[in-house]
Symmetry: C2
Subunit: 199 residues, 2 copies
């Protein structure tokens, strides 16, 4: 005895497989789509279905793009003396959004994580070293996440680059804007104190 | 200068239109799908695209189904003396899940909400009265939400049914299981006290 049509159940199941979407959110989204205009729903289905075939990985920076080299690597206006190393394509998006950085990127596609079985050889680190050997830059900004994995990855990468004589920097850590000192975790507060600046 | 492929941007936009999914979650889901196996992604796209054409509204209870009358209305095993009135198809699903109710349903498709411009005439209330006139039951359970809108709707519907001489009940209100008395809101605590039972 089923109280919900098979096609509805199937969509709930598929949505439930996505990260951060539990059975309740999956149901809610499904019933929302059921009430939505057919065109909006079909637009979503198309956007999902077509994305894979449109997207490639840039052979230079390993960011995702519709062309390779990607528009950023291909843009002669960008500062080719700076290279920002990030974990994921999403991080490129975040940095581009602030419009304060004009250099190039290198996407590692992950971070070193023994627990998840991710070693340096699973990341685009060898490719980074090779790229910098062929096209040297003045500064490499290690913009991996401020997490245990991101820190380990930054340490590992910086050691790999040590012999190249390039300036290697890391994004500043401290209290986030709008944050409350009282609720800051110990590591953040320690970093904020260590990194204090004269005003 | 775009840092993200158009097809990826398009999916982020489409997901962002869904309720409860902000730009960050939309990006996260999109990049997750980008890394997922092609088959899983296509299964999701198909599930979304096909749902609309497979689903109809039951002409008897107005629940969604793939046939009309729906499997519940069509099931001769179910108790035809009980009718449970709910706001949305999702509520039918929730009640069916607990496997404690064996009667029929009636889906109103919303609740009375002057703010959202939803009046009684926008709901399947006239259809409910007509249905009960033709096929009387012994008890109508008003299972609209325990919200201002749900309460108003239950009051309105109960007044419409007053002349039919049917027993009209409402789901109990009180402290939720696992809840903490200290954090219960005043209305819930008032209802819990009013509805107290001997143990």
């Amino acid at each position: 005895m089923r109280s919900v049509p098979r096609s509805v159940e199937r969509l709930i199941e598929e949505l439930n497989r996505l990260p951060g979407i539990g059975p309740k959110t999956a149901s809610r989204l499904t019933f929302y789509l059921l009430r939505s205009p057919q065109e909006q729903v079909q637009a979503l289905a198309r956007a999902i279905g077509e994305m894979h075939e449109m997207v490639v990985t840039c052979s230079v920076c390993f960011n995702i793009a519709e062309t390779s080299p990607c528009p950023i690597c291909d843009d002669s206006q960008r500062d080719r003396t700076m290279l920002c190393v990030v974990e994921e394509p999403l991080d490129v998006l975040a940095i581009e959004r602030i419009r304060q950085y004009d250099g190039l990127y290198h996407v590692l596609h992950g971070a070193i994580s023994p627990i998840e079985g991710m070693g340096p050889e699973d990341l685009k680190i060898a490719e980074l070293v090779e790229r910098l050997g062929k096209n040297p830059v003045e500064e490499v900004i290690l913009a991996t996440n401020p997490s245990l994995e991101g820190e380990s990855t930054a340490m590992y990468v910086s050691r790999q680059l040590a012999t190249l004589g390039i300036r290697v920097t890391r994004l500043a850590q401290g209290l986030p804007m709008g944050g409350d000192l009282e609720y800051a975790d110990e590591v953040t507060l320690t970093r904020a104190l260590e990194g204090r600046r004269e005003i």
